[in-house]
């Protein structure tokens, strides 16, 4: 980091003393607010599409689950989709959070340097795989495997309501959808938790170990409390990604216009993003497109809130302040 910190006052003074600088400053400032304009634009334009939908359907649009435009009056509601998105994200987090924590513990505290750097690169590469390719892979490679795992779960743990499956069909389940989301969430969460754990002061770690702490005691009383905020923030960022992911889930989840409450290995579930993509291609008219835009508005609100909370937590722990 620099050793001389420029005062903002000096910069302002230098910036306004010259006409070219004033133009430069203004154009840069204008460009910096483009992101705000786009965010506001998304909220306003999609929100405007949601208004007529609400006028016609009322709050039933958010609290019921149906997609039937031919009945009279039409019955349309996205509750099952909103709930399905959350259920999928929860399944993804149940798998991804322990996995990313363990991965970052392994990279930071256990692995030899070379292996750690290979693993870090591998996980970054995992983040770079486009979701459409992961979806293709999941459809042809993961599906048969996952069906086998789920039927085993059903055979041995079927007495737990969570693992009930009456249809005998183990494809298109929320579990597979959540699993493919977990594969996308792991790189995001790991990159944050790894960085946070690596910032644990080495003198604290060494002191704890030389006092006779085991690995677990050191993690429990030094590393994890030290990076708690960053870890929570990383998990929230992963949650934001899981809520908004579209294509990979589209390939593996069987979309049903009904609420699948907790039968995670029963075929059929919901997801707002997937609903939008699957209905968009065969939308029957402008009103159905408007319904999808309204659904997109609520998806946007949900992910925006999750991401804002995540960013507040992460920046408060100082990861982004340098």
């Amino acid at each position: 980091m620099a050793n001389i910190d420029l005062e903002q006052r000096d910069l302002q003074a230098a910036a306004t003393s010259h006409r070219g600088d004033r133009i430069f400053n203004r154009s840069i400032t204008a460009a910096a607010f483009v992101s705000l304009v786009i965010l506001a634009g998304i909220a306003i334009f999609l929100g405007a599409q949601a208004v007529p939908v609400f006028q016609q359907l009322g709050f039933g649009f958010l609290t019921s689950t149906a997609w039937d435009l031919n009945s009279d009056p039409i019955s349309v509601g996205i509750f099952g989709m909103l709930y399905g998105s959350i259920l999928l994200a929860l399944i993804a987090l149940v798998i991804a959070v322990p996995a990313s924590l363990l991965l970052s513990i392994f990279i930071v505290f256990l692995a030899p340097k070379k292996l750690a750097s290979i693993l870090t690169n591998a996980i970054d590469l995992m983040a770079a795989i486009p979701s459409v390719i992961l979806g293709l892979w999941a459809f042809y490679m993961l599906n048969p495997q996952a069906a086998e795992w789920q039927s085993l779960l059903h055979d041995y743990l079927g007495w737990i309501p969570l693992f009930q499956n009456d249809s005998g069909n183990f494809l298109g389940t929320p579990f597979i959808g959540g699993f493919i989301l977990a594969i996308m969430v792991i790189p995001i969460t790991t990159s944050v938790t790894r960085e946070v754990l690596a910032r644990t002061p080495p003198e604290l770690v060494n002191a704890a170990e030389s006092l006779g702490c085991s690995l677990w005691t050191m993690l429990r009383y030094v590393a994890l409390p030290y990076g708690r905020g960053g870890i929570v923030g990383g998990i929230m960022l992963g949650l934001g990604r899981a809520l908004g992911e579209t294509i990979a889930v589209f390939f593996v989840l069987k979309l049903i216009y009904d609420t699948n409450w907790y039968h995670v290995i029963e075929s059929g579930g919901g997801s707002v993003a997937t609903l939008i993509v699957s209905r968009f291609g065969e939308a029957s008219g402008p009103f159905e497109v408007q319904l999808l835009l309204a659904a997109g508005f609520f998806l946007f609100l949900m992910t925006l809130i999750v991401n804002m909370i995540a960013n507040l937590i992460v920046s408060r722990t100082g990861r982004l302040k340098k």
Partner: protein
Amino acid sequence: MTTTFDPATIEVLQQQKKTHPWRKRTTKFDVSVAIAVAVPLAIVIALFLFSDFPGALIMAIYLPLQMFASGCAAVATKGKRGILDSVIIVNAVGASVFSFVVLLSVAWSLISHGLKALSIPFLTQNSTYISPSTPLEYGGMAHAALGTLLIVTISALIAVPIGIATAIYITEVRGKAVPYVRFFVQSMSGVPSVVAGLFILTTLILTGAINTSAFAGGLAYAVLMLPTVARTAEEVLRLVPDDLRTGALALGSTRARTVLQVVIPAAKTGIVTAIILGIARVIGETAPLLMTSGKNDATVTNPFSDPISTLPVSIFENVAQPYPDAVTRAWGAALILMVMVAILFTAARLLGRNKIK
């Protein structure tokens, strides 16, 4: 300020740091670990060879078995408090193996299925007169690859200047709104890709301002690319030492000249990395393109007039078709796309090694 040490002193200090006397390993420890790894592995291999349990069940047996064995080894060497450690270590290694397996499985399936599709016509022809049932010898993905490149170029032309300007605002202009700008850029990076597509659809396409075209797709991609470019560029501009800025200002340079002729050239490779990462972020996004650029079997070069096919949309169209040749086409397109991503990723890594020259 950096304090200068005698180089010899630094070496001695580093050596001292590396000796962790409390981490001494004994022979007993090594032997216990070896036994704890070998025995469960032997049991599992025996189960695999001589029983008719399904493979997944054997894997499900293996993990608890390995944890139990490692727990025993831990009790033997470190006493009761080693148990939790051994559980953590076994699971951490397990998680690492899992991520390698996923990555290798994706790579292997892409190569083994994708190579079947690759041929000269596949790389040079478009899909006019091609239906899902047409044999693989006819038609190709050239039009889709061209479409992807066109859309990515358009989005880079829009998002890169704005993204870099945002980064300059945060690190160079340092106006009053810096915390807010940062916050909005970060929130924007969480916008779901399908929402970016809907945004362009409702503001520009449904109102009739522009056609379903490469330009519309480029705008949707730009929404997704902007935050990545801005955040990465911010990080690299931050690495430019303030000495360069003060030096330039002291020589009488204006702020604009300082930024354009000193700071940006100093961070040149880093900024190229930011652009590459931005492109890699968007190149495989499918959902926004379904809404903004559509699909087209013919080759399109005019970015404003007609719908245009892209690699992600071609994959999307060909997956789950009942014809094996169509599915192989999807794998082939996926392989081309992944090669593009891999090239970008490697380029970013190589450049990222020395961000400041």
